[in-house]
Symmetry: C2
Subunit: 223 residues, 2 copies
DNA sequence: ATAACGTAGATTGTATACAATATTCAATAT
DNA sequence: ATATTGAATATTGTATACAATCTACGTTAT
């Protein structure tokens, strides 16, 4: 009986379609900042890039639009969303609200395995010399600390929020020397989780998010 | 110079495509409860219903999937998302967090026109005898009270949250005699806004949401 | 009778093709 | 010179067509 495997989290029923692959690639490009805000994405161009027709490209762009990462103007193409300063502030506001809630719930149910995983990502983040990978480790660290909350909807919204400002997060780490501060704050958040103090972990997470926003804001203002 | 009109909120650059129309129709059907959770949506079937090919249908379904209203299993079709009791609770949690924040910010900037608009929807909700329209007025009332916050991202997330549980909200109003309570609470929320007391409006909104969840929960448990 | 296998039918995912609409730029008028 | 018009080009949105994959059901073997 192989059906028993279905419950193990292995998604047997779904393999990646072209449209899935293109979606992932474009999303990666946008959130990493390789594809810059304001850049326009022509269906034909993307299609040739991946050696496919425009159909799966359109489907990928549609999904990106539903998530807000690109905007479509009929007969004018898709454009990578450009955030106003107010947009950025608002998204950080949402993060500073939801993420502390989730980590607090998560700490209450946190397993030793999760703590170990978080510690590993924290260490990888701290010791990483390739700055292009900081954003990734940072996200995996926080994600690990949120998962035991078993709040898929919160995580979906947080994920959407982070996607939108991820390129800013990376820029903030790289361009403003945010690493040292982030390293220290990660250790403090992790410590609160080890202690089992969810409320403290939440408070520190909120401070971490708002603090990094302030640094980012100052940097953007001086541009 | 016609370009000046662009800023008036008239979306000159975009008219509705087939895929837009189908998206709206399916979304309406799902959030109103006419298309029930668990029901499967076959591309061919929907296409015939709207006299179009499967292409625009697929694009509409893709967008609904990105929003979480349907789920796709490759080669197995699209299914209207089914919420577990935990999912419903979680979504109400998010609403109870974000909506008070937004109304509080909104009250601080609220115009007399907005108050008038909200009063009108409040009245329409209270006096409506056709129960199938309660959900619509309810949503318009709350939406009016949120709009002056100028928080598009918050509103997007709140909209997604409400979309997912909208059929439950309607059921709660119709099946549990929630109308009387809702009518009273709407007046109280509106009164706080008229007074300019954002914090109070927020507290009442939170209580309104959590209270309606409790009623819904009790109803669902007795099924 | 039960289980494994294989074929027919159904459904999806994508390529190609075409029609509708928008954009561009040269030609004309003011 | 500037503004306006119109045809050529480009781009999008959708229909049709086909290949890949899955499902259902009957056949065969045990």
């Amino acid at each position: 009986m192989l059906e028993g495997l279905t419950g193990l989290g292995v998604d047997l029923a779904k393999t990646a379609s072209s449209s899935d692959i293109i979606y992932d690639a474009l999303r990666d490009g946008i959130i990493s900042g390789q594809i810059k805000a304001g850049e326009s994405l022509r269906q034909e161009h993307v299609a040739k890039l991946f050696n496919v027709s425009r159909i799966p490209v359109r489907e990928a762009l549609n999904r990106l639009e539903a998530q807000g990462l690109v905007q479509s103007l009929r007969y004018k193409g898709y454009v990578v969303s450009l955030l106003s300063p107010a947009d950025v502030e608002e998204i950080y506001e949402v993060r500073a609200t939801l993420e502390p809630m989730v980590i607090e719930k998560s700490v209450a149910m946190m397993t030793p395995e999760t703590l170990e995983e978080a510690r590993r990502y924290c260490e990888l983040f701290s010791s990483e010399t390739d700055s292009s990978k900081w954003g990734e480790w940072n996200r995996l660290f926080h994600g690990a600390l949120y998962k035991d909350a078993k709040r898929p909807f919160h995580l979906k919204l947080i994920g959407e929020a982070i996607d939108r400002v991820d390129s800013y997060i990376r820029a903030q780490l790289v361009l403003t020397n945010g690493m040292e501060k982030a390293r220290k704050e990660h250790l403090e958040i992790l410590a609160a989780c080890v202690e089992g103090d969810g409320e403290l972990a939440g408070k520190r997470t909120r401070k971490h998010i708002l603090g990094s926003y302030k640094v980012l804001r100052k940097y953007l203002d001086n541009q």
